[in-house]
Symmetry: C2
Subunit: 340 residues, 2 copies
């Protein structure tokens, strides 16, 4: 008999999350009430922001309570419906969290056409990571042709789109990533102009970045913080823009980590703007106009790193925070009937 396999937050991590912070349980599949539907999860997204939701301290949004399922975006198929807008067999992108079945009112769900694009892209290039890349680069960064755009975590779900969009806008795109494979992919597959391997660079990161961005940095799309941030900020050009999207190097830290001297921002008249894409879901008209077509045309490529089985989500998530994934990290919770 089928059950609902769920990953619960058992305890809050002190520093790096460990497997002991999660509980995997099998519970009865819930019944939809009037106005709800029940979906079976096919794809589940793992994203760095989820580390924040595990914390006690006030983060972005309401954090996960102990004993509740971890939150996150998913793609599922409706298996039973008491909501006239959703019928059995419909594919939906929703926010069902780390569980194999979920009921939903559908208020935050969107139906997917499996012929338009692979279902999983609703969690990557045509979903939250893609919109994050778009908003940060286009609306905050406002790239102009000929400018230099540097993006950290360049092979990741967000960074890979940032660099490809930058190229489409006529910019020089420079990635920063960890490892030769990722850097090769970013340059050879995605078409970035250059990529700096921060792991190999070590203490030469500043110099290697200077070589890759010889005219300085007009836009720094910040995903990581730490040593990468320290190397980038002094190389910002006048009127540089810094879309501040993530700081994965710091998510496991219990203490505050000082950032750059604000004199560097003042002298360059730079702008640093923290953002979270869910504030802007209603302002994505330009994204929908441009990105799906570019993906279909092969002008924006993406790569998926697929882990099978929801019970493997905790380990995959721990690895994500260490940069072990290569491409958009997805958990395949059930067979995808649309995928050959």
């Amino acid at each position: 008999m089928a059950t609902n396999r769920r990953v619960l937050l058992k305890s809050r991590p002190q520093g790096e999350p460990t497997l002991a912070n999660f509980d995997i349980v099998d519970q009865p599949i819930p019944e939809p009430k009037d106005g709800e539907y029940l979906s079976r999860t096919i794809w589940m997204s793992l994203d760095p922001y989820m580390r924040g939701r595990m914390a006690e301290a006030k983060g972005y949004a309401s954090n996960v309570n102990l004993g509740d399922a971890m939150v996150g975006g998913t793609v599922g198929q409706v298996v039973k419906s008491k909501n006239p807008r959703f019928k059995e067999g419909d594919y939906v992108v929703e926010y069902a969290g780390w569980q194999s079945y979920a009921v939903s009112t559908g208020d935050m769900s969107m139906k997917l056409d499996p012929d338009a694009a692979p279902l999983s892209t609703a969690l990557s290039v045509l979903g939250m990571p893609g919109m994050t890349a778009w908003w940060g680069l286009m609306e905050i960064g406002k790239p102009k042709a000929g400018e230099t755009v540097v993006v950290s975590a360049a092979s990741g779900a967000v960074g890979s789109v940032v660099g490809q969009l930058a190229k489409l806008k006529g910019c020089r795109a420079v990635g920063i990533a960890g490892g030769k494979d990722k850097c090769d992919y970013v340059v050879n597959e995605l078409g970035f102009d250059a990529c700096v391997d921060y792991r190999a660079a070590g203490g030469n990161l500043f110099k290697e970045l200077r070589a890759a961005a010889p005219k300085g940095i007009d836009i720094y799309f910040e995903n990581v913080g730490g040593a990468v941030q320290a190397a980038v900020v002094p190389q910002l050009n006048d009127f540089a823009r810094v879309p501040l999207c993530g700081l994965i190097a710091h998510y496991n830290e219990m203490q505050m980590s000082p950032g750059p001297d604000w004199r560097l921002l003042l002298i360059k008249r730079a702008t640093v703007t923290g953002f979270i894409v869910s504030d802007h879901f209603g302002q994505m008209a330009d994204f929908w106009k441009e990105v799906p077509a570019a993906v279909k045309a092969g002008k924006i490529k993406y790569r998926e790193d697929i882990v099978k089985g929801i019970e493997n989500a905790p380990e995959a998530f721990i690895g994500l925070l260490k940069g072990r994934n290569f491409g958009k990290l997805l958990v395949q919770v059930a067979e995808d009937p649309t995928r050959k």
Copy 2:
């Protein structure tokens, strides 16, 4: 016989400037060539940004060469002219630097009407500091009625205008200043809602600021950095704006000083924007529409801290960096014939 008294940069300061970094010399009064005029300086502005111009390292703009006169804004009277646009007796605001006479092509000079406003205001509330306050608050901060605006160095030439503009826009204005006299002035004379004395507060700065801004901080107009910055940034509200205007606490430092953890900016989706007003002199139409009338109507008040004699400029400037001035620091280089 009259001579041109000039203050030259003799050596670059290591940390705090001292009198030994300056040279005071009497030189012949220069002769204007065709297309130039000669002016006699009446008022000379001393401003924190000048510390940057004394440095070797690349700062905002071209720094002062050793042996050259210090740079700065001045109000003078034309005493001899070979430029048809300026005639003897005209009052001008110009960038003549630390000297009692200067020749100029007039390209960057603006004639002043002494009946419209006191001449010295062209260096304070109706000059660079007033425009700085306007640009930072209005164009970067974009205040909305009901929001809380916090400004550091609140009794100074820039901060005093920021808080009064904030009040005119329907905001709660909270100042931070050093000493009871300055705080009393900011609240009782300028009409701020509250002022925190950071010297008296010591380790309680965070708490006192919380009491003065109980709904959090929507706009922080940054003039100082240091401990004040550290107390303010964790109290920023969602979508806070930080016009980054100055960092006077750091100008004498030889080493980088870490700034706040960017996680604080990310979680709050805050924006920090470094700016320098001279980038925007051409975009001041709204300033000219609103501020002179508000000054004339007494809705924006200002205070001058006047030091007599150009030879006293170095000491006054050193004091400015320590917060010893109270109001806009001006050097009176010659009698002002329009002042009763």
